[in-house]
Point group: C2
Chain length 243, copies 2
């Protein structure tokens, strides 16, 4: 079953698209096992090898996780304790691996300004949630996050529900609101601490801070989170690998 045309697209990419759509439609929930390769091959009428390539591509994009002998599973932000460092680039300088504690400072409804609306792909004036929190690492306040979310996707978000959730924030979003963060883009700059940030991060006003501006995307590359993190880099740093 081949399709030849001027705009050639390999069969395995078509299969990949089908699996991707099934994932987006929620055919298999986060953490669940998808059907075995042979089963998918039968379902799509292609060979196992072709399904393998499609699944491999999705695994490379961290949408799926393969586990030899067990199956292939829908990636999840919960129980990702190990690979969760994927979206957490702030590490302790002493090399110890520690998950930051999170203190919720504020959560309020607001309306999107021009810049936020543009980055989130919503209209100016649309409702958003703005969540402010402080992450603690190495017994010090390390990051002040301001997280902006389109209200329509996070209906029912409250301080209590946020505080009650035990896992990571993205695990919370995924499990409670069905919003899966798949990738993100960040811009880093250096800024001077203002009075409020300085107070929350326990530094002097004017102290240099690492500003991390993030936009996170879900299926279809739709932006669903805008976040600014201000990081006091005394006991921590932002880690990156260039491969």
């Amino acid at each position: 079953m081949k399709t030849s045309s001027p705009t050639f697209q390999p069969l395995y990419l078509q299969i990949k698209g089908l699996v991707e759509r099934a994932l987006e439609a929620g055919e298999w929930g986060p953490g669940a096992a998808i059907p075995a390769e042979v089963a998918l091959a039968a379902r799509f009428g292609v060979s196992q090898g072709t399904v393998r390539k499609a699944i491999g591509a999705l695994a490379d994009e961290n949408l799926l996780v393969r586990k030899q002998g067990k199956g292939t599973f829908v990636a999840t932000h919960t129980e990702e304790r190990a690979s969760n460092f994927r979206f957490l680039r702030v590490r302790r300088n002493d090399g110890q691996t520690e998950y930051p504690g999170s203190r919720l400072i504020d959560l309020r409804r607001a309306r999107a300004g021009a810049e936020t609306a543009r980055r989130l792909g919503i209209r100016v004036g649309d409702h958003v949630f703005v969540l402010r929190r402080v992450l603690d690492l190495a017994s010090h306040p390390a990051v002040l996050d301001d997280i902006t979310l389109p209200a329509v996707l996070f209906a029912g978000l409250t301080r209590a529900r946020y505080a009650a959730y035990p896992g990571s924030t993205y695990g919370f979003f995924e499990q409670v609101f069905g919003v899966r963060m798949l990738r993100a883009e960040e811009r880093l700059t250096a800024v001077a601490a203002d009075a409020v940030s300085a107070g929350l991060l326990d530094v002097e006003p004017g102290a240099p801070l690492l500003a991390v501006d993030r936009v996170s995307f879900t299926y279809g590359d739709r932006p669903v989170e805008v976040r600014r993190g201000l990081c006091a880099t005394r006991h921590v740093h932002y880690w990156n690998a260039l491969a």
Copy 2:
């Protein structure tokens, strides 16, 4: 030709290792084409599919570059004009793609201190080169780089030769000294500009700067460059993708 053992290693990984060693030995120079897959398959006594997997893994690590219809080539830092942004994460805020101009400030021989020696895997007191330069972007000084190199690997490095080379620094290292940078690790922090940095970057002393500490690795994960970049993030930022 299979090898089964308690410490199981797939055949394609063994082939990958063999190709990697051939690359390190310089059997095919940077930019050159390696033998066709069928030829390599014959040489190693395996099927083409196994060679493909090995080469694919090396291509994923950016050691090789595949070009359909043409062949597979040894990756190079010269003529990498497009993918060279791999090691250049500082971008203009206005989105324009521009290659920074480079001004050599100083180049001198020195001896490795404890910290440098540790990070470069050399002995304290070993000779190193310390190269200071300023990168200009958007018509402003953007980055002040201090690059430390083990002298033994870069024998003959002079201001004149550095200045005379037209391409990227890593292209220079690769072409002139045969040192190929394959990957790098970076730690980012925010610092306050001292008098010298402020002068060179045209900012006020005490202004917040983005400090980028990089260690670059060549074959065998041997560290061969330590660099600190101080970045004034007025018209530029550090870009990163979390996938």
